[in-house]
Amino acid sequence: MYDLGYSRPATLAEALELLQQDDMAQPLSGGQTLMPVLRARLAAPSQLVDIARLDELRQIRPIDGGIEIGAGMTHAEVAAHPVVRAALTALAALAGGIGDAQIRHRGTIGGSIANNDPAACYPSAVLALGARVQTNLRILDAEAFFAGMFATALEPGEIVTAVRFPACAEACYLKFRNPASRFALVGVFAARLGSEHRIAITGGGNGVFRWHAAEQHLDRGADIDSLDAVPLDLANFTGDIHGSAEYRLHIAKVITRRALMQMAGQLT
């Protein structure tokens, strides 16, 4: 990596100040994307501002109708947390299936959604559950937060501090793993919030998105098995050596159906 500075401020306010003073500084959370990028010399920030251990970002607590997860919570912590496991079993399972054990003990929820890798798992849960993203400046709806692959609504100097999820008993995340990277070749987070079905798909290649047609189809009470006929736009998918766009679209349909069946208790 290129030569760079590193600081580990004690408070969020200090961290934000450092980031505001230096346009070329970059916040470092779990570093699961940033560190490989630095190692490969694909980025040259002036300094890293380590926010991974800030107390303000490291809480999980029940809130009215749901839970708030601090941005600095690791995947392993989310997966194991009793509050998450009780209120959002599917989210705990998603966190417990990211990468491998080492990654899960480093990578954080805030880092994952701020990076918005088109093959990451978390964005699908945030979008499907209609979670709200708390930053140091504002609260954003999931729909407004994600802005295509590796892009979010975050402004320079703005960082994710927490994510607020509604409790949801009926939800399921299924991932079809890329055989090399183990990222989601396609991942589907399906949920039912009240009478409303929500389906968010990650891994397509252009960033996480909702399959509205399927949601409406299900809201009308249609059978899960009839999903195959519901249109899903090929433009949401791109191809690479691991799978064509057509294949990814097909897999998205298959695992959506399986996720819904699992949700309905028809498949284990």
């Binding site: 030569d3 010399r41 055989p179 050596i241 691991h242 897999i251």
Partner: protein, 788 residues
């Protein structure tokens, strides 16, 4: 499966003595070494796959902080560094030698694959070297590229090397063409097969590394090198560097973190670094980054093959005709001419009595990383072909895949194949039955029905492989074009206090030599294992040797046995004097010398003390001291064999192939340490399954960029993708060495790929599918099947 012990005899599962040190981070690897005045190297590498070098501007890079010197290929060549040496002289069928494209350590006029080194930066720190390498400006004139084997030999294909038309390095043949023609004329049934054996990237856990010290005063160099054959490398480096003799060079390979063959070649980067150290008179270190490993560690496999098998109506094999295009990459790597010829085509008889075989192998240059030995080195390619053909033959004849093999098994040993080699021993049908038993073959139909009820397709695949290990004798290999001897040496030094040093030219890079050598010497001398120290990997300590590759443990251990025998025999002579009895009356068992003619006994350690004390025997008849050296040149190869049975379940909706069961019965001859051997099989089978399902080095056909240059895109196997393996040994001890051992290191990677693909084809009811059986490929096939 085996009860483990910490001290034991040949054949027992002794726990590896090296593990505690290695898994607690106490290993010492080349990159751990830092010398006074240490400098660091970084390579400027070509981003293009084929280009002429029009100019190199070093100006700004030279002025970067910490830069000591920057070398170009032209400079090294002018200073006397010759092109890389060849390790094997292969001749074409017309008698002409292979057309060798010169391979400079640093490219001189042209580069021929992505990542080929163009310049070498030496700086005070690693980061400074890397920064300066980024600042070197190379002017490339891009040339058209070729990746595909068939395209490379077509008229008008981009040509890699001047004077080598159609990129053809050699056209080599083996076997009887006329006999095969006659067999086909007489045959009533035949099957054909075209396949690609996919290119693999080795991925040793420790990347390549070298640290070179040069002393100008006494013209002496010490090279610390992560390598499978440090002693062999001494000769190569001495010649390349123009040193007065081998005495001026010491090569040390400390702990080596895996190789799989990829640490056996003589590499361009290492020569450049050593030459630079000599010119600078300061130590120079280079450790490859993982991306450099992907781009430049010698790759494996990459064949395009067509084959025809002639049979009678009962499916008896009558003749085999094989034509293979072997992708050499941009240059012929050290051993690759051997790998694609005498380690591949000679093995095409498989476990079967095939009266007539003919194979033609054409070596072809392409704009890709050079290919060389990789776990199995030619033998997996042969086994994959013949074992795929066997299953296609079974379908053609309409018999079970086990039955077609029974009808064709070799049953008498030794067995002279039509392809030079003579199999030593075996019990192929016994092995088959053992494997089928492990796999509950008769129960497969019920399991298939159960899968079907869940919407899954289940398939079972057999492979009955035979391979060749413990290469030798030297005379045979020399007659085939070999550039080096094939014996191994072992020196045993018994110290005055009774502790023992075992010095071997074999080199451990994961095989557990420290344990197995100690195990064998411990048993022979009747002393505890912890009194034995196994020394290897340092040419200042080891007189001679040929390294570790091709499962050569049997060769090195045989030398150890012979040295043990010499020590024990000398001990008898000494003890005869100590006990004042006739030599013929002295016996040695379980560490005790005794004689029926005396009440006294002498332990091995007491004998050793006496040997050094030199007071209890006449030194004009018996020399003092206790050292023995042996060289073992094997009279023949050994031929390990086995039957692997793979069971897969395919999800037709996604195309995912899951290996749900894998069972293997292997004949490794006598097994020194079952625990270690099972580990070797686990690793080998895992790599074999990975080749069949996930691993695939892909170059962009348009520009020859490596598209699988990181773990994001290159599919490595993981433990959670594998079933529990069921293993058993079915030994037919070999007569060619005193231990009856055959070797086990590569067997898994040889037996597994055809077993997996045979299972996939069985599940889908089809003749052939190329590796890797990736989900989308399988999904497309399932979809087509549904439509039809």
């Amino acid at each position: 499966m085996n009860e483990t012990v910490s001290n034991g005899k040949f054949g027992q599962s002794v726990k590896r003595v090296e593990d505690a040190r290695l898994i607690t981070g106490r290993g010492r690897f080349v990159d751990d070494l830092v010398f006074p005045g240490q400098t660091h190297a970084a390579f400027v590498r070509s981003p293009y796959a084929h280009a002429a070098i029009a100019g190199i501007d070093l100006e700004s890079a030279r002025n970067m902080p910490g830069v000591i010197r920057i070398f170009t290929g032209r400079e090294l060549a002018d200073a006397g560094l010759p092109p890389l040496p060849s390790g094997w002289n292969l001749s074409s069928v017309d008698g002409t030698p292979a057309r060798v494209g010169l391979h400079h350590a640093l490219a001189v006029d042209a580069i021929r694959f992505v990542g080929e080194p163009v310049a070498l930066v030496i700086a005070e720190t690693r980061d400074q070297a890397r920064d300066a390498a980024d600042a070197v400006l190379v002017e490339y004139q891009e040339l058209p590229t070729v990746v595909d084997l068939a395209a490379a030999i077509a008229d008008g294909a981009p040509q890699l090397h001047d004077g080598i038309a159609q990129n053809r390095a050699f056209e080599w043949e083996i076997g009887g063409s006329a006999e095969v023609d006659a067999a086909f004329a007489a045959a009533t049934r035949r099957v054909t097969l075209s396949l690609r054996n996919n290119r693999l990237i080795p991925n040793a856990i420790e990347p390549r590394a070298i640290n070179v010290q040069w002393s100008a005063f006494d013209q002496a160099m010490t090279i610390y090198l992560t390598h499978q054959n440090p002693i062999g490398m001494r000769g190569f480096f001495a010649i390349m560097l123009g040193l007065p003799s081998e005495n001026n060079l010491r090569v040390v390979s400390p702990d080596v973190g895996g190789g799989f063959g990829s640490k056996a070649p003589a590499y361009a980067e290492e020569f450049a670094v050593a030459f630079a150290a000599k010119m600078l008179d300061r130590p120079v270190k280079w450790t490859a980054e993982r991306s450099e490993s992907f781009l430049t560690d010698a790759h494996g496999r990459d064949h395009l093959t067509t084959a025809e098998l002639a049979m009678d109506d009962d499916g008896r094999f009558l003749g085999l005709r094989v034509h293979t295009l072997a992708n050499l990459g941009a240059y012929i790597s050290t051993s690759n001419a051997l790998v694609v010829s005498y380690m591949y085509a000679t093995m095409l008889s498989g476990q079967y009595a095939i009266p007539a075989i003919h194979a033609r192998v054409e070596g072809v240059y392409t704009n890709t990383c050079p290919v060389d030995a990789y776990r199995g080195a030619g033998r997996p390619e042969a086994a994959y072909l013949i074992e795929r053909l066997a299953n296609i033959a079974a379908r053609e004849i309409g018999v079970d895949q086990a039955e077609i093999r029974r009808r064709n098994f070799i049953r008498q040993f030794p067995y002279q194949t039509p392809l030079i080699y003579c199999y030593d021993s075996g019990d192929y049908e016994g092995c088959l039955d053992a494997a089928l038993g492990l796999a509950d073959y008769p129960g497969f139909a019920a399991r298939k029905a159960e899968s079907q009820a869940r919407g899954k397709l289940r398939g079972i695949g057999l492979s009955a492989y035979v391979e060749a290990c413990g290469i030798g004798p030297s005379k045979l290999l020399a007659s085939l074009g070999g550039g080096g001897a094939m014996w191994e040496s072992c020196e045993i030094r018994v110290q005055p206090g009774g502790s023992i040093e075992v010095l071997t030219g074999a080199h451990n890079h994961g095989q557990g030599h420290q344990t197995v050598y100690a195990q064998i010497v411990s048993e022979r001398f009747g002393v505890p294992m912890d009194s034995i120290n196994v020394v290897q990997g340092d040419t200042n300590r080891i007189q001679a040797g040929t390294g570790t590759y091709g499962s050569r443990a049997s060769v090195g251990l045989s030398a150890a046995v012979h040295s043990c025998d010499k020590i024990v025999a000398k001990g008898r002579a000494i003890v005869a004097h100590m006990l004042e009895v006739d030599l013929a009356d002295v016996v040695f068992a379980d560490g005790i010398y005794s004689s029926a003619a005396s009440n006294r006994t002498v332990t091995f350690v007491e004998m050793a003390q006496a040997a050094h004390g030199a007071a209890s025997f006449p030194t004009d008849q018996i020399e003092p001291g206790l050292v023995a050296t042996s060289f073992f040149d094997p009279p023949n190869f050994t031929y390990p064999a086995g039957v692997h049975v793979c069971e897969v379940e395919i999800d037709p909706e996604t195309g995912v192939v899951e290996v749900v069961a894998f069972n293997a019965a292997d004949d490794f001859g006598n097994v020194a340490n079952p625990l270690i051997v099972e580990g070797q099989v686990h690793g080998g089978v895992t790599q074999g399954i990975a080749q069949a399902l996930w691993e695939n080095a892909l170059y962009d056909p348009d520009n020859a960029q490596l598209m699988t240059a990181s773990y994001m895109d290159y599919g490595m196997p993981r433990a959670d993708s594998l079933p529990e393996f069921g293993l058993c040994f079915w030994p037919s001890p070999t007569p060619v060495n005193p231990l009856g051992m055959k070797g086990c290191g590569e067997a898994g990677a040889i037996g597994a790929p055809p077993a997996v693909i045979n299972a996939v084809c069985d599940a889908l009811g089809m003749d052939h599918i190329d590796m890797p059986a990736s989900p989308e490929k399988i999904w497309q096939l399932c979809r087509t099947r549904e439509v039809s």
